[in-house]
C-alpha cells in the first residue's frame, strides 16, 4: 500500500477542539465505513510522523473526510486542528482495516457505542446506511463530556428525524444539557440496557473510543449476554 499525495480542501469545526478535514486524494479507491487512513507529515528536515484517523464519511469522488480531536501535548493532532492550512499537502495511505467495518448489505440490527472521538467511524456507518437507503435498525449510544463536545451535532439531530430506524441516545459524563433526564455519569449497565438492543436480537455491536472506555463497554456487553464474537471494537489509544 503506497503513500498518496493529498491536499486539504476544506475544514469544518465540529467542537472547540475538533475539526473535520476534507482532503482531496487524486485516484482515491473506495472504502468501507469503519476503515481508517494513516496520515503522514514530513518536516523540511525530513522528519516524519504518521498517525491513524478513521474515515468519517463515504468518499465523495476523490474527497475523503477525517475528524481530528486535539490531544493536548500531542505531536500531530494539534498541528492538524490548528496549523494545517487549506491547499497544503500531506500524505495518506489507505483504506486500512477490514474487520471494524459495516457493509450496507448487512441486515442484522446494529448497536453503535461511541466514546468521544470514537464516534467518527460510527458516523461513517450512519452516513453509509443513509447513502445506501438501508433500513436496518441502528442505535447509537454516544458518550461525551458536555453538550458542546458532540461531533456532528446538527446532522445527528436531522438524521434522527429523517432516517427511519435510527435512534441516538447521549450520555454526558461532566455536564448535561438543560432538560436532560438524569445526572452526568460514566456510561454504565443501565445505559447499555436501556438504549441498546437485547442480546436475543443478536445485533452486531461496534464499540469505539479511548482504550478504557472500550474495555468497560465491551465487558458490560458480554456481561449482558452479547456473544463476544458479535462485539467489534476499535481502540483509539490511551485512556481519555
Amino acid at each position: 500500500m503506497r503513500w498518496q499525495p493529498a491536499r486539504l480542501v476544506a475544514r469544518r469545526a465540529e467542537t472547540p477542539t475538533a475539526q473535520t478535514l476534507v482532503l482531496d486524494v487524486p485516484g482515491w479507491s473506495a472504502h468501507l465505513p469503519g476503515q481508517h487512513v494513516d496520515l503522514r507529515l514530513t518536516a523540511p528536515d525530513g522528519y516524519q510522523a504518521a498517525r491513524s484517523y478513521s474515515l468519517a464519511a463515504p468518499a465523495d469522488g476523490d474527497r475523503i473526510e477525517v475528524t481530528v480531536q486535539r490531544v493536548p501535548d500531542g505531536e500531530v493532532s494539534p498541528f492538524l486542528t490548528d496549523t494545517y492550512r487549506e491547499g497544503d499537502p500531506v500524505e495518506v495511505r489507505g483504506p486500512i482495516g477490514g474487520w471494524f467495518v459495516w457493509r450496507p448489505q448487512q441486515t442484522d440490527p446494529v448497536l453503535l457505542v461511541a466514546g468521544g472521538s470514537g464516534v467518527v467511524p460510527l458516523m461513517a456507518m450512519i452516513r453509509a446506511r443513509r447513502a445506501a437507503g438501508s433500513r436496518v435498525p441502528f442505535r447509537l449510544i454516544y458518550s461525551v463530556r458536555t453538550p458542546a463536545d458532540v461531533f456532528y451535532a446538527a446532522e445527528l439531530r436531522d438524521r434522527v428525524r429523517a432516517d427511519a430506524g435510527l435512534d441516538v441516545a447521549y450520555v454526558y459524563t461532566r455536564e448535561a444539557p438543560e432538560g436532560w433526564r438524569g445526572e452526568p455519569h460514566r456510561l454504565g449497565l443501565a445505559d447499555v440496557n436501556n438504549h441498546g438492543w437485547p442480546p436475543e436480537l443478536d445485533p452486531l455491536v461496534y464499540v469505539c473510543g479511548p482504550t478504557g472506555f472500550v474495555e468497560t463497554v465491551s465487558d458490560l456487553l458480554v456481561g449482558l449476554g452479547h456473544p463476544a464474537r458479535r462485539v467489534r471494537t476499535e481502540r483509539f489509544g490511551p485512556t481519555g
Binding site: 504518521a50 492550512r85 499537502p89 500524505e91 481502540r235
Partner: protein, 199 residues
C-alpha cells in the same frame, strides 16, 4: 523523503537506535484488540500444540508452570506505531515446548481463547526468540494484556504475540490469521515496516 507539509516541524525527537522506523516511544502500555477481553480461568486453561499429522501435545497450567522458566527483557513494537523498550516478562521458551514435538511443518497458526489467530513461520518461534508468557513486570499478566498467558514474539509487530493464546497449529502451508486476513502484512517485521499487505 515524503512531501513536505509547510509549518510542520514535529517534536524534538529522542535518539533511540532501538526504535524501528516510524515508531515512537510510549511510557504506557496501550491495549489494542479487536473485541472484548476474554476471561480465562487458570484451572480451565490449557495450551495445545497440534502437528500437521494431528498429533496433540497438551499442557495444563500446572504443567506449563513446572517447565523451566525464563525472564526475557525485550523491546516491543506495535503496528499502530508505539514502541516500548525494556519490558520484562516471565514464561516458557517456545523451544522448550517444541522440544517435545515431532514436526516437519514450516508454519504455525497461533489461536486464542476468543477466536483470534495469527500466523508465523515456525522458525520464528525457535532459537530463543519466542515465549509463552504469564507474568509482566513481576505481576500476573492482566487479562487486557492477554492473561492468563500470551505469546511473546518481540522481533515481529506485536499483533503476532497472540493474547489469550490457547494453542498453535503446525502445518506445511501458510494460513493467514485474523489481522492478516484484514489487510495486515503476513510476516510483520518492524525493521522493514511490514505493516500492511504489500509492504
Amino acid at each position: 523523503m515524503g512531501i513536505v507539509t509547510p509549518g510542520f516541524s514535529g517534536r524534538p525527537r529522542v535518539e533511540a537506535p532501538e526504535l524501528p522506523p516510524g515508531q515512537y516511544l510510549t511510557p504506557d502500555f496501550p491495549v489494542l484488540s479487536a473485541g472484548p477481553t476474554p476471561r480465562v480461568e487458570r484451572d480451565a486453561w490449557e495450551f495445545v500444540i497440534t502437528t500437521e499429522t494431528g498429533a496433540e501435545h497438551r499442557w495444563s497450567w500446572a504443567q506449563m508452570m513446572a517447565l523451566p522458566q525464563e525472564t526475557p527483557t525485550v523491546d516491543i513494537h506495535c503496528v499502530t506505531r508505539w514502541s516500548k523498550l525494556g519490558t520484562s516478562w516471565q514464561g516458557v521458551s517456545l523451544d522448550t515446548l517444541l522440544d517435545e514435538v515431532e514436526t516437519a511443518a514450516d508454519y504455525a497458526l497461533a489461536h486464542s481463547y476468543g477466536g483470534y489467530s495469527t500466523n508465523l513461520p515456525l522458525d520464528d518461534l525457535r532459537d530463543g526468540r519466542a515465549w509463552l508468557v504469564h507474568t509482566y513486570d513481576g505481576e500476573e499478566l492482566p487479562a487486557e494484556h492477554g492473561g492468563p498467558a500470551r505469546l511473546l514474539v518481540p522481533h515481529l509487530y506485536f499483533w503476532k504475540s497472540a493474547k489469550w493464546v490457547r494453542g498453535i497449529r503446525l502445518s506445511l502451508d501458510d494460513t493467514p490469521g485474523f489481522w492478516e486476513t484484514a489487510g495486515y502484512h503476513d510476516y510483520g517485521d518492524p525493521w522493514r515496516e511490514q505493516r500492511y499487505q504489500g509492504d
